[in-house]
Symmetry: C2
Subunit: 410 residues, 2 copies
Amino acid sequence: MTARSAPPKGVTVIEGGSATTPRGFVAGAVYAGIKTAGKGKLDLGILASDRPASAAAMFTRNNVKGAAVVVSQGHVRNGSARGVVVNAGISNVANGAPGMRDAKEMCRLAAAALGVNDAELLVGSTGVIGHPLPMDRIRAGVPKIRLSAGGGPAFARAIMTTDTHPKTMAVRFRAAGREYRLGAVAKGVGMIHPDMATMFCFLTTDAAVEQRYLRGALKSAVDDSLNMISVDGDTSTSDTTAIFANGAAGGPEIGATHAGAAAFERALCYVCTAMAKMLARDGEGAEKLIEVRIEGAASERQARAAARTVTASPLVKTAVHGADPNWGRLMMAVGRSGARIDLARARAWLGDIMVYRGRPLPFDERAASDLLRNEEVLLRVDLGAGDASATAWGCDLTPEYVHINSDYTT
Amino acid sequence: MTARSAPPKGVTVIEGGSATTPRGFVAGAVYAGIKTAGKGKLDLGILASDRPASAAAMFTRNNVKGAAVVVSQGHVRNGSARGVVVNAGISNVANGAPGMRDAKEMCRLAAAALGVNDAELLVGSTGVIGHPLPMDRIRAGVPKIRLSAGGGPAFARAIMTTDTHPKTMAVRFRAAGREYRLGAVAKGVGMIHPDMATMFCFLTTDAAVEQRYLRGALKSAVDDSLNMISVDGDTSTSDTTAIFANGAAGGPEIGATHAGAAAFERALCYVCTAMAKMLARDGEGAEKLIEVRIEGAASERQARAAARTVTASPLVKTAVHGADPNWGRLMMAVGRSGARIDLARARAWLGDIMVYRGRPLPFDERAASDLLRNEEVLLRVDLGAGDASATAWGCDLTPEYVHINSDYTT
């Protein structure tokens, strides 16, 4: 799997790892009855550090924000938090003052279970918008959550909505002679076009990390990974990415001037990218992961816009779905992104087959179509306008996407 | 049909009207062999005035522009033109210098047939991107086009690509005591998210209209109509809207201070809106026309952004397709548009059923679902943030859209 391929130097994937693989983290989940019932279903979970942790988070830029987002923004502002309590099934968005009360009560219930302060917890809710949370079920459910260092995989299942499988991993990395672990868990395969972070991605590390540095490192990693995926161009009201660094591995705090900073950033970026690709690959109804590389852009901003526009184009997504080597749609999407393109110098590739170099090139359409039949499809354009580049990830658009989303609440 | 409902005062729809209903316009079309063959197919047409005409045009804002767009921009710059020659099947985009030569030759061929100068004609090409135009077939085809005042309907068929039916109409309007006619023809039901005009919409009128005033009147009408539709969020490389005013009805030139200016603008706006709705309703694979009205916005720009974002949201489009009264998606889409919304004062409706007023309202889900089963669906949001409003049109997203676009060139 590409998601796990080629970790950078000093980073090793831990087989079977999860968000509780880093030392000092516990998690657990129960079925509280928020999702419709089903065998082995979970819908309410807690992920937490057993000691105070540096924390940083990024949230949706959608002007309609879920109550959980608003509450979490307040709780993470001081740069420290223990963890997060999450429910799936109902997203607690556009519920007015009662919604805010419910989000705060979720923090309070989880804090009581952990024996910490309410304000040390973030909260997340994902699912249908505009329905009230069934607080009686959440009140009954939270005390039943059994927290353990083996609870990471259960937490990963509890936060799923239309995801077809849980998404979690962990890596080991060396920084300044010490070994640390970094874990992650994510969900969200629809309403995905993060403008800040993906729907949910929670990261844990047993490294001690300086707060302000942690914020910058998270932003930098997310901008090149979770903020570069698109399933359907729609931005959720609840997007939340948070990292908790509890220092359980010992050693001095990692900060900008620490000898291990670069190694930490490499590990963080690798894990964020791997999670981003897992999400895009599992896009609602999707059969393929599409990677779009833009080169030769006049600026990084233009490169990013072009890459994201291609991943969000229904015409590109359907062409990939149909293994149709219709590269004109790739040029159309790049063109409408606003990025400057010099058509006389531009080049374009489907996989490794060059199809345009200043003008259309003859190419083997059958071979190109075969490339588009792979589970991973690379589309690449050199805009011929400068030196900047960017990569984005998306998925194909299938009839199944329409089926899934035509019948959700009813 | 809504497209023809309720013309404004002084405007009357002419049954069976087309772009050649205004006096002094002729059109014709042939099958030149650019589209794959089929019974009664046409793919090459000319629409022209028998005398010089004031002309104004608007083109795609996509940075990748078709050669026909570039040539037409040059030819319309002086404010006068006779008409347009159009082929469907291949769009002549990204073809480099040979593409520019071909676009100019199309003008030359049509100008010779009409006995006018090359620079008096606009040109349009629509279809697959990146294939060369079969100029031998176009050279053979143009002289075979028989132009007549009854040729409007044939021209409407010749410019179709994935349209399921031709789109053309005409109205009669009175301005300052004189009767004029205004005709229109349009095509384009995919790659539709005009950022300037829709794929092709050509307007004809036998009114004499002052050039600079005509440009302003066209822009104003298009901004509220053709620039407010979306089928798939993708902006074509070939979008072109042009109007030709040949004065065949006699009378003084209509200009900003003419007593008939308001009547002309009403007629123009009505026809542009009717054509826009015809295009959206025939969106690839679409079964429903979606009208989105945004009120209470802080600015007109924000109102337009919110309305367009809703029409382009796959999650809204699939919910309408499934008659799913999942109004949370409406709020999500409004939220990600960047428009300011005051959730405490906002209101939302599915059809005439209010579902949100500061908080979710209880409503009859079955009745709402029934409303969403109509062929025309109204979605309405009051943002509670000001006094500006805007309306946009789109269509539902169906599995058929994916089928159509997964197999186009191959």
